[in-house]
């Protein structure tokens, strides 16, 4: 496939980007608002020599994903909150087993069966994880169709460099948004990585290998965890991603990811036009959280406003990052006909804090 600009739903942009960047096998179970990813994968993957396999539950999806990931090939899945909840058994497993794979979570309103409306309510479950044990999943939060296309190669490189699952999260409003997206020409990014040293392909290729995440001795369990600890420390140190604008002289910094992060560009433009000293930080990697962005904030910053499409989840990480140095405020909502704060509401809240 050549590079081309298409008018796509962002779910479809995910499918196209994954396939064009080398995903061969995609496993999924229908769930709004993520179903369009698997629908498009079913149509396009055969042209890439791959296949979309619909499974019977997200539990089966993530297990098949883990089985396929054992081969070293690039594999992916897509789901939404309730599905992600079910997938955590295998996500935790793949973290322990050090298997690379890609996951897409199109976030909707929870908890429970929730609502099909968009939300950012999976921040906790994405960054903290829903499985047992000391593990982390790399979490990337693109904010537009174009950023989806641009960030998928980064996700693949992270997945293979660190041999770990990489989870893309997008709110359901953005997922259903349709926009012009320039898709890359086909390039299998996973082919740049040699999996011969670890993939489970049979003893025709290497002496017996066994994938074991359970401990046969207490020392085994300790050693595995120490290995993971060192890996996660490296990721934390080297792989923080964020966008930051006009914070150099800012009095207030607005922090948001995904769609609210995208809206920050307009917020800053509008408020700067009125002479307000405002900047923004848009975390792109939610884990590792971009703490470095906050460490570098100047003394002029007197307040931080975090905006989310939930009741306050990422705000915890912002508070940890500033560690009491700067007051942190929160604006957010979830559910309802319009499941998010508008730009006007964001500006009003920033102005209110500036006026305090």
């Amino acid at each position: 496939m050549a590079q081309e600009t298409l008018f796509l739903k962002n779910t479809e942009a995910f499918a196209e980007s994954l396939a064009r960047c080398g995903v061969k096998y995609h496993f999924a179970y229908p769930i709004t608002p993520a179903t369009d990813v698997m629908k498009r994968m079913a149509v396009i993957l055969p042209a890439y020599g791959g296949e979309m396999m619909q499974m019977e539950s997200e539990l089966a999806v993530s297990s098949a994903l883990a089985g396929a990931a054992c081969t070293g090939k690039l594999v992916a899945t897509s789901s939404s909150g309730p599905g992600l909840t079910l997938m955590h058994e295998a996500i935790g497993f793949m973290c322990a087993a050090e298997l690379p794979c890609l996951l897409v979570d199109s976030m909707r309103v929870g908890p429970g069966d929730g609502d099909i409306l968009g939300a950012q309510s999976d921040y906790y479950v994405a960054t903290r994880g829903g499985a047992h044990g000391d593990y982390h999943t790399i979490v990337l939060a693109p904010s537009s169709g174009q950023e989806i296309a641009d960030i998928v190669p980064t996700g693949i490189k992270l997945a293979y460099t660190y041999r770990t699952p990489v989870l893309f999260v997008i709110d359901g409003v953005s997922a259903q948004t349709t926009e012009s997206t320039t898709l890359p020409a086909y390039h299998d990014y996973s082919a740049e990585f040699d999996t011969a040293g670890w993939a489970f392909t049979g003893t025709q290729d290497h002496p017996k290998r066994a994938l074991i995440t359970g401990s046969y001795s207490h020392q085994d369990g300790y050693d595995l965890n120490e290995k993971l600890r060192a890996k996660y420390a490296t990721i934390r140190e080297k792989e923080q991603l964020w966008e930051q604008e006009q914070t150099e002289d800012a009095e207030i910094v607005v922090v948001a990811f995904g769609i609210h992060g995208r809206m920050c560009r307009d917020l800053v433009a509008k408020m700067r036009a009125e002479g307000k000293k405002v900047g923004f930080i848009r975390p792109i990697s939610l884990w590792p959280f971009p703490e470095l962005a906050f460490a570098g904030l100047p003394d002029s910053v007197k307040n931080i406003l975090v905006v989310e499409m939930n009741h306050g989840q990422m705000v915890d990480d912002v508070r940890l990052a500033v560690n009491g140095r700067i007051p942190v405020h929160f604006l957010g909502k979830t559910g309802g006909d319009m499941p998010m704060n508008t730009l006007a509401e964001m500006i009003a809240e920033a102005n209110r804090i500036l006026g305090e």
Binding site: S144, S174, Q176, E179, T342
Partner: protein
Amino acid sequence: MLHKCMFSGSGGQGSALMAKMVCLGAIKENLKVVMTQTYGIEQRGGDSTAYVIVSDEPIGSPIVENDADIAVALSQSIYGNCFAGVVPDGMLFTNSSMVDNPKESDAFKQVFLPVSDTAVQLGTVRCANMVMLGAVLAGTGLLKLETVEEVVRETIGNKKPQLVELNIEALRSGYSAMKKES
């Protein structure tokens, strides 16, 4: 260049198709474009609004928040919403065949065109949306007429080739009606 548009109509009037034509045309003109669907109460009445933002730069907020500079109301039931959603200096295009009680606005310009009647004269009321789209292009310079004609040929031509000429005629008649008006 940045335009925020809302295309509103009742079920079957094809406001979403208008929006899609604009989006595909914008891509042909190498512009960035984003479309969001209606959130809100109007969805339930069989009415629908498609919001489109067209820009020559990457688009920030994808949401049109009562700040459209180009709005289209194809029916009476949606007119009030559209009226409330237009910014000063914006333009509201109203289907005067279907809207009996227009309000007066000082802040933004209103254009009234009997696009349903025009469409009936052309052969079917179903092409009223294309008549209106032609008018919008003429009134705002949002996209070139030829670009949208190309989109019509490609999208409608694929599925219903016999309807291509009708739709292009509708586009052109709306376009020239608007040119005469201004």
